[in-house]
């Protein structure tokens, strides 16, 4: 080949690499699956999908803002465990280092009391602080960017009405190059659409309200959609399940076996509104928090809208997940093929768990403690089982992290997945030690 042919070949190969990178990183947006027949919100003929539900539409801005702040679940991230709401300081341990959430109370020095309404709007839509520096996308502004200006201003009005708390936030502890905030400007340029929600005319008004709630406010995808190497959501696997903050956010696509396609609409609505549905387990960890602080505060009409939207997500099979087992375990500790009589896991289960959860996995005490049907028990990695044993659950389960060793917790996780789930897990003491450091 001549030199020019070589150059041509190299250039072509380079183009292919660039095209592949663009294809990989610049995937579809969160609403691409629904089709392109969207209109600007101002031009939409149907009922307004933004704002508060009709019951609250006549109320003052602070009341509307409170509802929207709940729906956006600001409080979960901006509150330290046991701390004052919205005063920030909660640590987020990522693979790049530790981030601390900011104080969003109206304190002028340590909070956002010195910001203007315009500053707040820019931060929420564009991820930029008043001094022009960029926020890290742990703050889900790529979702909040879909919110209308009015809704952001209502949230601003509410946050201005809560007590100011003086709470200085520690500096982030991130490794180079992730400590370079200006790089987040490039991330934002690539992955923040910086567009407001555009209703889809082919879908129902209820679906549009659900889409606005799920994509703009509740930012479900931030936990439930896997991320690419640049930490942007990979919407080719939208809602397909991901590991976030040491917990597994499950597949919530319409897949009948490994998603929520097999759940009835009533079960989905009940789970979102109360954190529990019969034979589907109980929300714990970050989802338990999302229900407590956010979803349980939504009106029934908004819960129905969320269900309608989640129902429309294209099914994705989670290949590493067996179908959820629905039959109960044997009634006595001495029977069942999975039981080895003197296993450490059984000993721990007998001492700490059987009283509430029962040997069948159907709780003799309360519906919320029933294990059968829970996805955590059917997850062969048992990540959420270990996390629940370590840190307990607001639904009433004590934390056993201090009471049992890593080996005992690994043993009981493997015992319960074998006894009550579709497939036994193989958790090691080392894995438990690692999970202790992730939250």
């Amino acid at each position: 080949m001549t030199a020019s042919r070589w150059l041509f070949a190299i250039a072509l190969a380079g183009l292919v690499v660039v095209a592949a990178a663009i294809w990989y990183f610049m995937g579809p947006g969160p609403l691409t699956f629904a089709g392109t027949e969207t209109v600007r919100l101002a031009d939409y003929q149907g009922p307004n999908p933004s704002g508060v539900p009709s019951e609250l539409s006549q109320s003052d801005p602070v009341t509307r803002g409170r509802y929207l702040t709940h729906a956006a679940d600001c409080q979960a991230c901006h509150t330290l465990e046991g701390g004052l709401p919205f005063a920030g300081g909660r640590a987020f341990k990522t693979q790049f280092g530790t981030l601390y959430s900011s104080n969003i109370t109206p304190d002028r020095e340590t909070g956002i009391g010195a910001w203007s309404a315009g500053d707040f709007l820019r931060a929420v839509h564009k991820g930029v602080r008043p001094d022009g520096t960029h926020l890290y996308p742990a703050f889900p502004y790529a979702a909040y960017t879909y919110l209308t200006d009015d809704d952001v201003q209502a949230i601003w009005a509410y946050l201005g009405s809560i007590p100011a708390v003086k709470n200085p936030i520690p500096a982030n502890d991130l490794a180079f190059p992730f400590n370079q905030r200006w790089l987040m400007g490039i991330w934002s340029g690539l992955f923040n659409p910086d567009r407001r929600f555009a209703p889809n005319v082919r879908r129902t008004p209820e679906w549009n309200r659900g889409a606005y709630l799920a994509e703009g406010l509740a930012h479900c995808g931030d936990c439930h959609t896997p991320r690419n190497l640049l930490q942007a959501l990979d919407n080719r696997r939208k809602f397909g399940g991901a590991l976030t903050a040491g917990w597994r956010a499950y597949n919530i696509t319409g897949h009948p076996m490994t998603g929520v396609g097999g759940w009835s609409e009533e079960d989905l609505a009940q789970y979102l509104a109360t954190g529990h549905a019969t034979n589907h387990g109980t929300a714990s960890g970050p989802m338990g928090e999302a229900v407590d602080i956010s979803l349980s505060k939504l009106t029934p009409s908004d819960i129905r809208a969320l269900v309608a939207y989640v129902r429309s997500i294209p099914p994705i099979a989670a290949s590493d997940f067996p179908a959820v087992r629905t039959e109960v375990a044997d009634a006595t500790p001495w029977s069942g093929a999975d039981v080895t009589a003197d296993s450490l896991g059984k000993q721990v289960f007998a001492g700490a768990c059987a009283g509430c959860h029962g040997w069948t996995g159907t709780s003799p005490v309360m519906d919320r403690a029933t294990l059968i049907g829970s996805r955590a028990l059917n997850d062969p990695t048992a990540v959420n089982v270990v996390q629940m044993v370590l840190s307990g659950s607001p639904a009433g389960m004590p934390a056993f992290g201090a009471a049992y060793s890593d080996a005992e917790i690994a043993a009981v996780a493997n015992y319960v997945t074998a006894r009550f789930g579709a497939k036994a897990s193989a958790v090691t003491a080392r894995k438990v030690a690692h999970l202790r450091t992730t939250t």
């Binding site: 006595t332 500790p333 001495w334 009589a341 003197d342 059984k346 000993q347 289960f349 007998a350 001492g351 700490a352 768990c353 059987a354 009283g355 509430c356 029962g358 040997w359 003799p364 307990g392 004590p398 934390a399 056993f400 201090a402 009471a403």
Partner: protein
């Protein structure tokens, strides 16, 4: 079949089925009746004994699982933590009907042996599997706190009576 058991430091050989629950062997064959039968399903904690220091529900543990291991029942609980717990139980008048109490004491003694300064949350998680139908939970928690203090101060005396 011959089963060798070491209970409260004594080695005994019993001709029993290896699948027999440890509780049956302790109560019916060794005549140590301080350990109680509650539910038979590891749901209540009344039958708690120690196997190598670990609180264990004897009603669901086959005797074969205790071969070569040290079983301790309420009659033989004489560790420093065990003595401190028993003294605190007497001082605080913890029991009401008393049926669950040997199990409560075994769980509490194992807790203090592993964690000499338990927080209230540690107490709740360690004692979560021991049910008291008389609801003496508040007295149990306070007795465990007093026993921990006495252990730390080195003032625990053997239980009287």
């Amino acid at each position: 079949m011959s089963i060798k058991l070491t209970v409260n430091g004594d080695s005994r050989e019993l001709d029993i089925d290896p699948d027999m629950p440890l509780l049956w062997a302790i109560r019916d064959h060794l005549r140590l009746t301080g350990t109680k039968f509650g539910c038979g399903m590891a749901l209540c904690g009344a039958c708690t004994v120690h196997i190598d220091g670990q609180p264990t529900r004897s009603c669901v543990t086959p005797v074969s699982a205790t071969q070569g291991r040290q079983v301790t029942t309420i009659e033989g609980l004489a560790t420093p933590a065990g003595r401190a717990i028993q003294a605190a139980w007497v001082d605080g008048n913890v029991p009401q009907c008393g049926y669950c109490q040997s199990g409560q004491i075994m769980s509490a003694a194992a807790l203090l042996a592993a964690n000499p300064h338990p927080s209230d949350a540690d107490v709740d998680s360690a004692m979560a599997g021991n049910i008291c139908p008389c609801a003496t939970y508040v007295r149990i928690r306070s007795a465990i706190r007093h026993a921990a203090e006495a252990l730390a101060a080195g003032t625990s005396a053997p239980a009287q009576g």
